[in-house]
């Protein structure tokens, strides 16, 4: 498992350097996904499979999807073409192939003695909803605040966004109720 850690660490560093150095925005985001995957493999080798899964689901899934939506909404085609040329896929593909081979090796081996002290999802959940339950509540409030803040900042182009919302709100509610009925 130590070799797996070192290979994943090298992949993470290479991918992160490429995130910073690519001039093309879409290429940089591609390498960012690879970097997050590599860190997920590092988590797995450190005996934290739950966090490794969350890294893939939340970081590489949800947060990168947010970046993708922002790139689409911002219409950055003038600076960086959204269609990625085939040659640009080569670097991320090679790095991800290394990670996939590593993961397949680790999963087929399935020797828990090779791993460090594994702290599974059960212990994490017991701790999360035991002594840290106040933190969970605070995180939920933070996420709600971020949701409202993002809606307020990016909602309407004009400053009279509040009034425009009141105008559009009831109509939207009515159409939703009709759709529900």
């Amino acid at each position: 498992m130590t070799a797996l850690f070192y290979i994943a660490a090298v992949v993470a560093v290479i991918a992160t350097v490429l995130v910073v150095t690519r001039s093309n925005l879409v290429h940089a985001l591609l390498y960012l996904v690879v970097s997050l995957f590599a860190v997920a493999v590092v988590f797995y080798t450190l005996g934290a499979p739950f966090v490794a899964a969350l890294e893939v689901i939340v970081y590489a899934g949800a947060i990168m999807m947010l970046f993708l939506f922002a790139v689409m909404l911002l219409d950055v085609r003038a600076e960086a073409p959204l269609r990625v040329p085939r040659r640009a896929w080569l670097g991320p593909l090679v790095l991800v192939a290394v990670l996939v081979v590593e993961l397949i090796y680790a999963l087929t081996l399935n020797d828990s003695s090779l791993r460090g002290v594994e702290v599974g999802p059960q212990q994490v959940s017991a701790s999360l909803f035991g002594p840290y339950v106040l933190g969970v509540e605070l995180a939920s409030m933070l996420l709600l605040a971020a949701l409202i803040g993002a809606r307020h900042v990016a909602g309407q182009p004009d400053d009279g966004g509040g009034e425009a919302d009141h105008g559009g709100g009831p109509a939207d509610d009515a159409s939703d109720q009709e759709a529900g009925a």
């Binding site: 070192y6 660490a9 966090v51 702290v119 996420l143 971020a146």
Partner: protein, 102 residues
């Protein structure tokens, strides 16, 4: 049991944080700046998980979950600011936002 020396995990976290910080200082595209902040938060979370694995306790992973929630909140607000930035300044260059320069 040949497990990884935990100082190497912390070293990896430090290297990733340094790369993210260098990118934050060097790059001028707002989206890439946000991506660099993500890299730095991820490196901080990695340090938490390494420390948790060192003692075999779940606390490090719990802290990583909180870092994850904070990163999601940060990137949502940051990208909303990026959209508004683009609408008002017609660019994504952070150096264009110099109206408050004294």
């Amino acid at each position: 049991m040949a497990s990884v020396p935990y100082s190497y995990g912390l070293l990896l976290a430090a290297v990733l944080f340094g790369i993210g910080f260098a990118g934050l200082l060097v790059r001028r595209n707002l989206i890439v700046v946000l991506a660099c902040i993500e890299i730095m938060l991820n490196a901080a979370g990695l340090a938490f998980v390494v420390a948790g694995a060192r003692w075999g306790r779940p606390d490090g992973q719990v802290m990583f979950l909180f870092v994850l929630a904070m990163a999601a909140a940060e990137v949502a607000v940051g990208l909303a600011i990026a959209i508004r930035f683009r609408q008002t300044l017609r660019s994504l260059d952070v150096d264009d936002a110099d109206e408050m320069r004294g």
